[in-house]
Symmetry: C2
Subunit: 312 residues, 2 copies
């Protein structure tokens, strides 16, 4: 029997999910959320962001969450770091890995970070030097890797260019963000064709949003192309809080269900993941859009006859 | 330039969608629904079912809908026919095509139609003879083609056996129903491997439910294998009416969005399809779970900047 292909899952619900919620979740609830995710067996958890609380008040308690959560040796606990000041906070909080954030769209970069792409890269240089000194790996997000809410379709050549510059300045991992949830599988083909010779699909992480229900089909296409690392949020956390039921990120349960049933190894226990999703849904006081969670994630999910058994 | 691959879409919302709704929609609203679907450009519409109104009161007005709807030459108007009595009604209503219904699971067949699979096939023989006399094509559904709510996973060999018997008695089209929405793409591989030498993928229709968000990924895999004909319901109609927001069939908009953006030809106009979904959502008084409809299908869908332009 050949070894089963491993699919690495980074749970970004505590950061990318909660930063888009109108409700601010307490430190205690966040810590319980992260601990439940650790127990579910994800490879990495993006715990929080060391951005200024003025900009993202939902994540103003990053130090407290890092200080109180229970760490497991098998899990990487990462955080978003916007600049040198954030890096100092991240180091003091003993993060395992940092994540930086730029874009393939100039307009998005300016609107989202008030800086050109070139300026974000120059900000990264000292931060990456500090990470190197502390032996911390560096993930670099390229948002709008397929399309931009302002510019529309993004040329894969622009993604390649930004990825090349990030690798030049020392990023260890390139995370391709399909920010607005418009991608179809052929876009994933074009994205990776654009990276040929620079990055193999297996060297990247793909970050999908499920706004139009296409995220799982895109993940399948990416797996076929050789991608083995994905971001996701449990329950599909991260939808717009002003549109109840609106889809957010690719739901971790949906990806795990597909992978587990197709014979890939994720290390994630679906039932334990449901517990994390139920916890955060209760903390937010809203239903989550994830489909497998909605079908099988209720309290009696284990006892239901028609389907929940398939994903285990 | 090679001709674009055509994907044939049968809209089954008026039948498979509405028969699962608690609310009974008026004849007038059904006729308007079918007319909007005709205008959207789907290849076929399963308009209703000539089953006894005692069994499915939601579709007790099949004759009225066939009598009042506006027919387009480019659209096939089909109906489900359970037996010879239903066939007489279907002939009187001038259907273009009939659909018969059996299963790959004995338990499901008994619970759903009060007959063994063998008995359903024997019932079909005189109905198919009548269809032949009237020059009407015959579609035959095999439900539970991947899994059964009672028996769990279904052996693809059983699907093959039922398909072979249906072809023997004269069915023109085999429609493989993934009834409970548990399939992942590897199930689609196994299903078609099981049919090798009997039916090419391009000779079948695939009927997917999106209960666990996997329907579009399964459709992608099916397209890769050569399937060119799918059932779907606009807005993802067909979810359980007792679970608001629960997913139903594969949403026509989600399939059309993926196909149109991947360069396949569906003949369907997404904006016109939204009008049909908005109409039926209003008639039912509930939100529909389809993702593209939810993201882009509101009244101002055409004007939204971030995504709706991609599917057109």
């Amino acid at each position: 029997m050949p070894a089963r292909k491993h699919i690495r899952i980074t749970e970004v619900g505590p950061r990318d999910g909660l930063q888009n919620e109108a409700v601010v979740v307490s430190v205690q609830e966040k810590v319980a959320f992260v601990d439940l995710l650790s127990q579910a067996g994800v490879a990495e958890i993006e715990v929080s962001s060391f951005v200024s609380p003025q900009w993202v008040p939902q994540l103003g308690d990053a130090e407290d969450v890092f200080g109180r959560m229970s760490r497991r040796d098998s899990v990487v606990y990462s955080a978003l770091v916007p600049n040198e000041e954030g890096m100092q906070r991240a180091l003091a909080a003993h993060v395992d890995k940092i994540a930086l954030f730029t874009a393939a769209s100039e307009t998005f970069s300016r609107k989202n970070t008030n800086a050109t792409i070139g300026e974000t890269l120059r900000r990264f240089t000292p931060v990456i030097a500090q990470a190197r000194s502390a032996s911390l790996p560096v993930r670099a997000y390229i948002s709008c890797a397929v399309a931009c809410p302002y510019e529309g379709a993004i040329d894969p050549g622009r993604v390649r260019e930004v990825a090349a510059r990030l690798l030049d300045i020392g990023a260890d991992e390139i995370d391709l963000g399909e920010t607005i949830g418009v991608a179809v599988p052929s876009d994933i083909d074009r994205l990776y064709e654009g990276l040929t010779g620079l990055l193999e699909p297996a060297q990247t992480t793909l970050h999908l949003h499920d706004t139009r229900g296409t995220a799982l089909a895109c993940a399948l296409r990416a797996i076929q192309l050789g991608v083995v690392s994905f971001d996701a949020t449990c329950g599909g956390l991260g939808g717009c809080p002003y549109a109840p039921g609106a889809a957010g990120n690719l739901a971790t349960e949906d990806l795990v269900y597909l992978c587990n049933r197709m014979g890939y190894e994720t290390g994630v226990d679906l039932g334990a993941l449901f517990a994390a999703s139920r916890h955060v849904a209760a903390a937010l006081g809203r239903a989550l859009p994830g489909r497998v969670f909605g079908a099988d994630g209720n309290e009696r999910g284990n006892d239901k006859g028609n389907g929940s058994r398939f994903g285990r």
